[in-house]
């Protein structure tokens, strides 16, 4: 009797535990779509609706703009449901990677050009060349340097939005600070003028920088930007060898180091001054009248509008080295960022066309990506959009913005460029901290970078 009672209790417990287990496992299974006619049915997409999840980093005030484009798009394509998956910047690469690696990746993923090339080379995203041709899209409406950023091995993988250029070709000055220092409120055009203005505008006390004239940068990104204003280049034209350790490269880094040491009192002063970061927010030096010159990207106009519309500013092209007769003002296009939108290879065939339609909307269409740029007062990779009169009304220096875009050099990079950039970053830091001369640092970096290039091309063959 007692055995039977004990067994009965155990059986009951086992049954309960089993129910618990099954319940737990059931929780891991995706919910089945609600049958038509049930209470949840009105909110559920119809059987023909295709879901396009849009993985992107357009946050803050831009979320609403994206949502408006989605609403407009869904009116044109009622069978496509776009979900705006705005992602935080923190651990961006890791999260994107996890999303791509999943069995059910988002249908459209925002990625930088460097990432796009890497993903394309590894066959992890699908080309859109055929879809562009089938629809007869006119790619000439883009600036050549912009659309050119998204080809790899002859295949197109995205269309651009925003501009890949316009991120390093400009100098912005605070006119009030110039006037307070007794200077003409005119942006410097050469390295030499920048040096003089920086010297006049920088104030240093025993704790470091109180007010900065300009930070010429302590990173690889800054070095690359200045390199092209001294007629240098990162790689050879055929992308088979590195070129940043050329005499122009060494001269550029030497100038950056000298400027940082002599005008700003050393790299540690600069790092301390920007200890809370250089992102766009009201706490930053530029918005507090203690930074006289910056080298912004085109998103600055939107941020100035929203953070400090009363700021008195003027715009010029990034200064060049007047001592080099071949040097000119240039910005770079496609070295860093140059955002594109890709379709992961894991997206099923039947959803790719819908994903492409959405990519087309946010890149190619004037009332999609073009409108998005106008709302932010930043230029579009589509030439015609930049002729919109509202740009000239919102931005008195719009001609300079367009001139900057025209001056941008479309940099050829290869899929391992991020590694090379990090190696150059090490070199710039070594020179800035005085551990190596600029020549030693760049030659050392060039050796490492060349090894990566050689390894990459030999693997391709």
């Amino acid at each position: 009797m007692s055995n039977r009672r004990s067994f009965g209790r155990s059986t009951l417990l086992a049954a309960l535990a089993l129910a618990l287990l099954l319940g737990t496992l059931a929780g891991c299974v995706p919910a089945a779509p609600a049958p038509a006619g049930e209470a949840a049915a009105p909110a559920a997409p119809s059987a023909e609706t295709i879901k396009v999840r849009f993985w992107n980093h357009w946050l803050a005030a831009r979320v609403e703009l994206i949502d408006q484009i989605i609403a407009d798009f869904e009116q044109d394509f009622p069978n496509i449901d776009v979900e705006n998956l705005g992602q935080p910047w923190d651990r961006r690469e890791e999260n994107m990677f996890a999303a791509l690696a999943s069995n059910d990746p988002p249908e459209v993923v925002m990625a930088t050009r460097a990432e796009l090339l890497k993903l394309a080379n590894d066959g992890l995203i699908v080309p859109i060349t055929d879809m562009v041709e089938e629809q007869g899209l006119d790619l000439d409406k883009f600036y050549p340097g912009e659309i050119g950023n998204f080809y790899w091995e002859g295949e197109l993988y995205s269309m651009p939005m925003p501009t890949g250029g316009g991120i390093s070709g400009m100098i912005l000055i605070n006119k009030d600070m110039f006037e307070a220092a007794g200077l003409d409120p005119v942006p410097p055009t050469t390295w030499q003028e920048l040096w003089d203005a920086g010297k006049a505008l920088t104030v240093i006390d025993d704790k470091g920088i109180v007010q900065i004239g300009a930070n010429v940068g302590t990173s690889a990104t800054s070095f690359f930007a200045w390199l092209y204003t001294n007629n240098g280049q990162i790689y050879s034209d055929d992308l088979r060898s590195v070129g940043f350790n050329s005499p122009e490269g060494i001269e550029t880094l030497q100038w950056m180091v000298d400027y940082t040491n002599e005008i700003n009192g050393g790299v540690q002063n600069v790092l301390d001054f920007y200890v809370t970061g250089q992102e766009a927010n009201e706490a930053q030096p530029w918005y507090n009248d203690i930074e006289a010159m910056i080298f912004p990207n085109v998103s600055i106009f939107f941020h100035m509008q929203t953070i400090k519309p009363e700021l008195q500013w003027d715009l010029g092209l990034r200064p060049y080295n007047a001592n080099n007769p071949d040097a000119e003002s240039h910005g770079l296009s496609g070295e860093e960022f140059a955002w594109g939108y890709v379709i992961p290879a894991g997206v099923p065939e039947e959803k790719r066309e819908a994903a492409f339609e959405w990519i087309k909307k946010i890149t190619y269409e004037e009332d999609g990506g073009g409108w998005f740029m106008i709302q932010q007062s930043r230029p579009s990779p589509i030439r015609s959009v930049n002729e919109d009169p509202s740009f000239y009304e919102a931005n008195p220096a719009w001609d300079t913005v367009l001139a900057s875009l025209e001056s941008d050099v479309s940099v050829q990079i290869f899929p391992e460029h991020v590694r090379v950039r990090d190696i150059v970053e090490q070199a710039v830091q070594a020179a800035m901290f005085g551990d190596m001369t600029p020549e030693e640092a760049l030659n050392d970096a060039a050796e490492q970078a060349q090894a990566i290039m050689d390894e990459f091309w030999s693997a391709q063959e």
Partner: protein
Amino acid sequence: MTAQSAGMGRAAAARPQPRVRAKDLLGFVFIAPWLISFLAFDLMPILSGFYHSFTNWNALGIAEFIGWANYEEALTRDPLFWVSVNRTLYFIAGSVPLGIFAAFTLALLLNANIRGTGFYRTVYYLPSVVPTVAAVIVWIFIFETRRGILNFGLELLGLPTIRWLSDPNWAMPALIIMSLWTIGAAMIIFLAGLQGIPQELYEAAEVDGANGPQRLFGITVPLMTPTIFFNLIMGLVAAFQAFNNAFIMTAGGPRNATLLYMLHLYNNAFRYFRMGYASALAVMLFIVVFGITILVYRSSDRWVYYS
């Protein structure tokens, strides 16, 4: 075989074979959710990591077997590998002893019969549940050269200020100081250990004329060694895997001064898409952590008292 043993064998054969009892089944069913999760989300990735450490793999495509090449690259050609190892050992040497000492000291203070003990316990534990990003932003302001509270304190003492986050010599000490932020969990464990020490031992020591330090080093510390041992192991494992603070606050800089091993691993895995190489780095980390844990465990015979 003797007749006796043969007889026993027959008797055993005659008995019904032991079968899985309902009770055992019940146990398995209860642990099944954990077991399934462990197999799918822990064991499988670990085994996968071991395998992929021998491959050239971007985590999304097909893995190409390349033998020991990843290990060879790390040990002989990667200039940042040994830098990151060096920085991590520095971090461990500073943060683990300091963390244990600080947590133990706090626990001793909070174990005293003073008013508002519950409030203080909560206050000291609170940082452990503050999100890392928020904590890092607070610490950036604490370390600020011009207006930071640490430099303000140094100035009050008439000492020179320090460039905590921009000087390569001071960035790692800054990270170590910041690691104290999360000693709340260790402190709670120490507190539980302290409350398990029988009061009569202290009373007997007092009768024998022992003073405070004698009671501390003669009773408290020896009886707390199992807890110290536990916190030491946990602290070592956590310090080897430290990542967030360096990632958010210094990104490995300045001049690689805070390039912790996990940061180097992260860069290879998620910025360069070199998951095979990153797996090799992870395997090496696993081996080192495992080896050090075994060493500490073996050494515990000499300094941990369980009775």
